[in-house]
Amino acid sequence: MTKLDKNDRLIRISLLVVAFSAVSVLAVITIFIFEQGTPIMFKYGLRSFLLGSDWYPSEKSFGLLPMIVGSLMVTFGALIIGVPLGLASAIFLTEFSHRRLTRFLKPVIELLAGIPSVVYGFIGLMFLVPFIRENFGGPGLSVLAASIILGVMILPTVISIAIDSIRAVPDSYREGSIALGATKWQTVRMVVLPAARSGIVAGIILGMGRAIGETMAVIMVAGNAADIPGSILQPVRTLTSNIALEMGYASGEHREALFATGVILFVVIMILNTIANLTSARQKKR
């Protein structure tokens, strides 16, 4: 092997090491979170941890149920708001609007995706919360507020991915349908959307992942009471807020419990991510 070959080999190996940095970090994160979080889950009892509804750290009571319910409610709410709006916008922008309008709006929407979540939370706090309080009752800081804010936050994601998926459907499909006498909307409904389905679903799952993982904006508008909300006008706390709110001053078992919250959150999101990756791989194969 010549010297140049030896050098090339060396470079290849160094790059392999570098390439594994992403994977190693992922592994380290997983190990750390689990290492810090799982002992207490089993010490306390997995059942009472996941299903207990009393979260009083000072009294060593670590029931996560309110937060689990909270995360689910808020995410679900975000999807109810974000998906129809996002999908409708995507369909409109790809199939029914002037090209110039879309060409202008799509980058604008993507621009808005870059706005930090704290800003969304702030606007929610300043405008949405008082609005809910005055018109619907309750403290304003509520499931409803969090759902709406999160729904708006995931809009750019859902719209962007949906637009790309719809655009990826070959024009020949559309032409074939029109040639058979269908209207544009019928074509969209019966041909384009089913063809774009896996991509759109992947986008929705991505949005869902974002909603579940969102922390700061939720803290600002959700009220953060660690109880299962009786209605959407009542305050709520999510798994993410739980960690962020108490991490600053928690110690000992309390801190471990927060890590355990992280474990639960982590597991849920990994599952969602894997599903999303598999679904979009299916779309690509098509």
Partner: protein, 278 residues
């Protein structure tokens, strides 16, 4: 549906238009409100003075400095790692199990929420490595948050360099590494830079991961090991604790404008890059 197709279409079109308008208007509303209330706050003083009285008075200079340091460190670490990974994936291997694992790792990393990164950074950098709450801890944590983006954009950029360039380089007697550094990377630079700029935008707005690693001390960072508050964290505290709404708006405006400029720059870079290719 017993409605005639053409009528159905008209109704649907109107509904779609309506929904789209709501979506767009809401998003624009946010932008407008921030700018409307925040722009008046933006004076030279605001940008060049440090916060005083817990942020009720003064400006946001120390936070701007902290943000810049943090972002710089994050990209200093993430860029070589990300570009290196991209080079490995495209130039040195064919698709096999190893590359799939690497890609899977990067994709998963991309989906992890910032609070988990905050926890991770807290355990590893602040505690285990004893870096304490510091710009360094925050920067390193952010580095891994943006790593997937850098990998993805670099890979795309490198892949789009025509294969013939490499062949020519080889036929003129170069090794693979020489071909990469002399021909492929220079051609891929615009795409890579785009990824870097996007990551800058993301780092600037990040809060959850930063607050648990860089802390929230309201003072000018004196070294990499000082704890210091970034713009985003400062904004969050001002807003949540109700310290000062006008100052909060001002900080938000700076954040939003910075991000808008960054996104616009990225957008135009991409346009020029695409133009150059054709």
């Amino acid at each position: 549906m017993l409605v005639r197709p053409k009528t159905e279409q008209k109704i649907v079109q109107a509904l779609l238009y309506f929904f789209t308008s709501i979506a767009v208007l809401v998003l624009l509303f946010i932008l407008v409100v921030i700018l409307k209330n925040g722009l008046p706050q933006l004076s030279l003083e605001f940008l060049t003075k440090n916060p005083a009285d817990m942020g009720r008075e003064g400006g946001i200079l120390s936070t701007i400095v902290a943000t810049i340091f943090l972002t710089f460190i994050a990209l200093l670490v993430a860029t070589p790692l990300g570009v290196g990974t991209a080079i490995y994936l495209t130039e040195y291997t064919v698709e096999n199990r190893v590359t799939r694992i690497i890609r899977f790792g990067a994709e998963c990393l991309a989906g992890i929420p910032s609070i988990i990164f905050g926890l991770f950074g807290f355990i590893l950098f602040v505690n285990k490595l004893k870096l304490g709450w510091s710009i360094l801890s925050g920067g390193l944590t952010l580095a891994f948050m943006v790593l997937p983006t850098i990998i993805r954009t670099s890979e795309e950029a490198i892949k789009s360099v025509p294969q013939t360039y490499r062949l020519v380089s080889f036929s003129l007697g170069s090794t693979r590494w020489q071909a990469i550094t002399r021909v492929v990377l220079p051609s891929a630079v615009p795409g890579i830079v785009t990824g870097i700029i996007l990551s800058i935008g993301r780092s600037i707005g990040e809060t959850a991961a930063v607050i648990f690693t860089a802390g929230s001390a309201l003072r000018m960072p004196s070294s990499l090991f000082s704890s210091s508050r970034t713009m985003a964290v400062h904004f969050y505290i001002l807003a949540k604790e109700g310290v000062s709404m006008p100052k909060a708006y001002g900080t938000a405006a700076v954040l939003v404008i910075a991000i808008l400029i960054i996104n616009l720059v990225t957008y135009y870079l991409m346009e020029r890059y695409i133009q150059r290719k054709s």
